[in-house]
Point group: C2
């Protein structure tokens, strides 16, 4: 039996939003959930204890990166990702597909898989549905993903149709070779900005009976209206008894809008990437701590925030660390930003349970765009 069961606890009356619980061997986690990203087997600048102190349950790791470095065999010899990186809560690995299409060089997409060159040393590599599953089996995450093509935006209808068909054939091949029944396997809905392809991709992927369904290829450059239509078009055809995961989306407003449309799971590098550039997420929008106006600001990043950074440090100190190129600065901002997004999903759960999700959205957006 696969170690994942989605329990729908409460369906919002006014929207498609839902509050649920993901039951897994490494614990039960409420949804909507934000999953921090540990690309190379570490959430950038943070220890696993810090990630957990931010309230994190499931975290992500990237198959493409770990396959290239240190290599799937080394992670397997270490006993899998959990002992290797010292994280005892659930881990999700992606298929490597997205990174092949976004990072790798000289890609050649064939029916059997993708030939490409490593972004690290230029060496020739090949990734297929079977190879992706084999690597993910070695990495040993709790949730693994089907190998898919994530086309750029925009592409022609014809290209996207061909791509969705291939991704479906790849999903079948991957499912066939996935032997480790302890790892849940998710299918991925593609289809770009074409509603009928999203519908078709969702329906056909659901027929293959995965443990959960992801929506890929969203937030790749399209406008806001299109983005939300793509989510709507996919979620409408996904079953209510399985979790729905919107890949790579972490903008707070996008998370709220996607939850309203029935999405349960999110991941994004946004909180750690913003931190690296000196930014903190606050209810009144992003602020950049490098700004000279924080030089003598001895208040915390955000009022009433209970994260480690806000409990112990001032904007002035964090600014000093950033200006002085001290790594603790980015670390404190990473903690705050991850805590912020996890707290956002906690507030969304409460709002769903109390039937005030749309009011919450309006309040959040009013505050978010009312920049200081």
């Amino acid at each position: 039996m696969v170690n994942l069961k989605y329990e729908l606890k409460y369906q919002d009356k006014n929207t498609k939003a839902r509050y649920g619980i993901l039951h897994m061997a490494r614990g039960s986690y409420e949804t909507p959930i934000f999953m921090p990203v540990g690309t190379q087997g570490t959430v950038k600048t943070l220890s696993p204890e810090e990630v957990k102190a931010c309230g994190a349950g499931i975290i992500l790791a990237n198959t493409y990166h770990l396959w290239l470095r240190p290599g799937a065999d080394i992670v397997e010899k270490a006993g899998g990702l959990h002992p290797f990186m010292n994280y005892d809560r659930p881990i999700l690995t992606d298929s490597g597909g997205f990174q092949v299409f976004s990072l790798a060089k000289k890609k050649d997409i064939k029916e059997e898989g993708v030939y490409f060159k490593s972004h690290i040393d230029g060496s020739s590599l090949f990734l297929s549905p079977e190879e992706s599953i084999a690597i993910q089996n070695k990495l040993g995450a709790d949730i693994i993903m089907s190998f898919d093509e994530c086309p750029p935006y925009p592409v022609t209808y014809e290209y996207m149709k061909t791509s969705v068909e291939r991704t479906l054939r790849w999903a079948k091949r991957g499912k066939k070779v996935h032997a480790n029944t302890k790892q849940a396997l998710f299918g991925i809905v593609q289809g770009g900005a074409f509603s009928d392809l999203r519908k078709w991709s969702a329906e056909e992927t659901v027929k293959l009976d995965f443990d959960g369904y992801a929506i890929g290829g969203v937030s790749v450059g399209e406008d806001e209206v299109t983005k939300y239509q793509m989510i709507d078009a996919a979620v409408s055809y996904l079953p209510p008894d399985k979790p729905r995961y919107l890949m790579g989306v972490g903008d707070p407003v996008d998370i709220i809008e996607a939850v309203i449309r029935g999405v349960d799971m999110f991941d994004c590098v946004l909180p750690t990437r913003l931190a690296r550039h000196g930014n903190a997420l606050t209810k009144t929008g992003k602020i950049n701590l490098r700004n000279a106006k924080y030089k003598e600001d001895f208040t915390s990043l955000e009022d009433n925030c209970s994260c480690y950074a806000c409990k112990h440090y001032s904007k002035a100190y964090i600014r000093h660390l950033l200006i002085s190129k001290e790594t603790l600065g980015g670390r404190l901002l990473s903690i705050h930003n991850i805590y912020f997004l996890i707290k956002l999903t906690d507030e969304l759960k409460e709002a769903i349970k109390e039937n005030r999700l749309l009011e919450y959205r309006d309040e959040f957006i009013t505050s978010w765009y009312n920049k200081r």
Copy 2:
């Protein structure tokens, strides 16, 4: 009354080594003690909680760096270094002298002080005994240092004699303006590799009656024999009822040899600097984790080490972090290296109490040079 009292608990029978306790407003700390360095108001890559978990009591911060950035006034407005950097144990600030002589550009040493240009932006600056004390009063450390000249090695006898005389006059001027009696003030013995100048510097500095005495200008390029002679020449003329602090020395063998010669306090950037370059301190010498031989080494950095890094991570994982440029790698090595030096001083205390310090030295050195 000054918040520092040295209590001599046990004088080694075979050497000049001693076990004691430094009683301060922020707690009592046993000596010999290793003090990690937080140059810019943060021990590089670590949180204050991690520094304390390594066993640290007193830590250092650098007056020169904090004066330039963020500025002494900002730290004062924050309530001093302790709340600014979130460290509630004692802090020691140096005088800024050493950095002026090692980092700053276009130095012009006059009787009134030193004119120089900032290493950050080239701006013209002036540091004097009075200004150094005024800055350190604002930073608010528990122990502050006299402003001294630290000449390079080697210099002529004449130069060193003139320098020691000036450093003595500077020590008097600094002591005169030090108004904040909550901060202990240490004098600094200079004199380079000239035993008679070390003796004279020690005797004259002691006459000024400081709360403790530092030995400066050691480990600046001289050979091992000279180094230990310089320590001997200084310590012999320091009073038994005051702490003795050897500035900037953190090599494990040097610490042992200096403890044998009667030194109580040490600071050095060595553990964090080694970490930045991928090195771990072990009883069998330094090892570099970037080495390919650790690629599949799933053992901890050191057997029987109880530091956070050794309890949870393998050499293979730390190597992966270093190769992948993930900051957690340097952080884990910093934790291990600081823990290593603090544990060394703990073992030295035990060896002193049990009258087996020389045996401990021999065992340590045999293991240290018996590299793997």
